[in-house]
Amino acid sequence: MSDLTLTPNIAGADDFYAELLAAHEGLDKSASDALNARLVLVLANHIGDRAVLSKALKAAAFKE
């Protein structure tokens, strides 16, 4: 059972953020929202661990 990582964990954080913005470039708001939703689901599936996912949901909602 692993914990939710809330310390820096992405090498090249600026490169990642630029890629994230680039993925949204040219999309209108609803298309961007849809992209974000798909991204959340893809990442959630990658994580898999139900306990971690629950913790992530709480962390994002600041309900920790």
Binding site: T5, L6, T7, P8, N9, I10, A13, D14, Y17, A18, L20, L21, H24, E25, L27, K29, S32, D33, N36, A59, A60, F62, E64
Partner: protein
């Protein structure tokens, strides 16, 4: 007021060139007596190369302008003999605070690494920097060095030829013609030289305006960098507060695109903005106000035959990250030793093309970083803003989001990976930070430091390794600097230059960048390395 930037520092004087029957020919003419032009001229003069600096003005820069100087440029200025006054006068800082909306979300400490002579950053008004450079020029002149600054000498026309450049120069007493073997254009982002030669300057315009104000106050704000995203006193925009010497504070307020610049600059409009930020009761005096917009762009090539561009004339970045003046100093640091070898016939002219290659690499790195900062500070789409605000909200509670907050990635020196002057790294598992192409890292050596022992010429640095005291390869002299890990009880020299190796030999360029390294001295290999580093292989 009698501020340094109001006094002519290099007043117009008639030059014998203006009365010459045929145009005088100089070795090098530098256009622009800003920080980069003066650094180029000092570097040349120190090495005995005759140089004339032409400037259309006669004073140092008006207002604080470039205020943040990083460690690497300070090390370059040490080599030019003016690092100490900068550090003595400048304000050192390591702490930063980030605010979002009405609250502080986190703070950071740049935590400078031990074992360096110079601090990570200092803040200093550009006019002091330029004054110290002019002082250094005067000192060199007194010592008989061939350097001259001509104030109120405005270049009106340029003729380029295969082996020289011809200039038409306008002065208060009429115009004259003068020639130079080489021309270095350091005439700023609006470079008239670039326009006169019809050269490109393409890139990205950012549709935004920033109000910068220098404010004198005896405020109790600590010596920290404070950055606000979307604060109550400047809704939807950003703000920056940074300390300079003499109780001068630099304030940057983002204003947005659609504004009336002249109106916004008036004190009656600036002062209420500053009061909203600083508090109604804080007493302050406005020293300087300006509004700027910016672009991120560069020339396609920095070398055009006998004309070499450096600093903002060659590349322009957004101010976030202090990459303007800091990168300009790295330009001339890279250029001058190459030019000297070419002028002395010790290296082929093609060596100058490596200036283009290496510094374009540096400019692209700076443009990339400063564009990303700008995109974070001024999101250009709704989703971009949603993501930015999410990062800021998360950063208050979770450490992971803090590296994503981008209010400027502060200037770090460029490593010339892939440069044709580098020899392949032959030090097995050597520290990555000192691989070929890197600027040498400073290290403590008992009472002193490593960097002051490097520079101006090629050095063979041996650490617990044998090598000849002098190698000469086709006119290039390489002098040995013999050190031992025992010279540094803190072991930084070992950590930074040897890693797990017992010995190392480094070939170090005159600009303190590593050209080649191996565990032990191998004459054939180092002769190849010297030839490569001087554009002969």
């Amino acid at each position: 007021m009698n501020k340094i930037f109001e006094v002519p520092l290099y007043a117009y004087e008639r030059s014998p060139d203006q009365d010459a029957s045929s145009p005088a020919r100089h070795k090098v003419i530098v256009i622009g007596a800003g920080p980069i032009g003066l650094a180029a001229a000092i570097d040349l003069a120190q090495q005995g190369i005759e140089v004339v600096v032409l400037d259309d003005n006669d004073k140092v820069s008006f207002g604080s302008r470039a205020v943040c100087y990083a460690k690497r440029p300070l090390e370059i200025l040490d080599r030019l003999g003016c690092g100490q006054p900068m550090v003595d006068k400048g304000v050192e800082w390591n702490l930063g605070k980030v605010f979002f909306d009405d609250r502080q979300v986190y703070d950071f400490n740049l935590l400078p690494e031990d074992g360096h002579q110079r601090p990570a950053f200092i803040n200093l008004q550009q006019y002091y920097f330029e004054e110290y450079l002019v002082n250094r020029v005067r000192e060199l002149q007194e010592a008989g060095a061939p350097i001259e600054i001509r104030g109120r000498n405005k270049v009106e026309a340029i003729g380029t030829h295969a082996d020289h450049v011809k200039l038409e120069v306008e002065t208060p007493e009429g115009s004259y013609t003068v020639e130079a073997d080489w021309l270095i254009a350091c005439d700023g982002a609006g470079s008239p030289v670039r326009s006169m030669l019809g050269l490109d300057f393409v890139g990205r315009v950012f549709e935004d305006n920033f109000l910068i104000a220098d404010v004198i106050m005896d405020a109790g704000f600590p010596t920290e960098r404070w950055f606000w995203f979307d604060p109550p006193f400047n809704r939807g925009q950003s703000a920056l507060l940074h300390k300079q010497p003499d109780n001068v504070w630099r304030i940057d307020l983002q204003l947005g695109w659609d504004i009336d610049k002249e109106r916004e600059k008036r004190p009656e409009n600036v002062i209420p903005r500053l009061k909203a930020m600083l508090g109604e009761d804080v007493q302050f005096e406005l020293e300087w106000v300006s509004i700027y917009t910016f672009q991120c762009r560069r020339m396609e090539k920095f070398r055009h035959g006998r004309v070499l561009f450096a600093g903002d004339a060659a590349h322009q970045v957004s101010p976030f990250g202090a990459r303007g003046a800091n990168s300009g100093l790295q330009d001339t640091d890279n250029l001058i030793w190459k030019l000297k070898l070419v002028m002395e016939g010790k290296a082929p002219e093609s060596l100058l093309d490596s200036y283009d290659m290496e510094r374009i690499h540096g400019a692209d790195e700076n443009i990339l970083n400063s564009s990303r900062s700008t995109d974070f500070i001024t999101p250009k789409s709704e989703m971009s803003r949603v993501l930015r605000d999410a990062v800021l909200d998360l950063s208050e509670q979770y450490e992971f989001a803090r590296p994503l907050v981008n209010s400027g990635r502060l200037s770090v020196p460029c490593t010339y990976d892939g440069s044709p002057l580098n020899s392949a790294d032959a030090l097995l598992d050597g520290p990555a930070r000192t691989r070929p192409g890197s600027p040498c890292l400073d290290a403590p050596l008992g009472d002193g430091f490593l960097l002051p022992k490097l520079g101006d010429k090629f050095i063979l640095l041996t650490i617990d390794a044998d090598a000849p005291d002098l190698i000469e390869e086709e006119g290039i002299e390489v002098t040995r600097l013999a050190l031992s890990v025992k010279d540094d009880p803190t072991m930084e020299l070992k950590r930074r230059y040897l890693g797990d190796n017992d010995s190392a030999v480094y070939l170090i360029r005159p600009d303190q960048h590593v050209a080649a390294r191996r565990a032990t001295f191998d004459e054939t290999q180092f002769r190849h390395a010297i030839r490569r580093a001087t554009g002969k292989e």
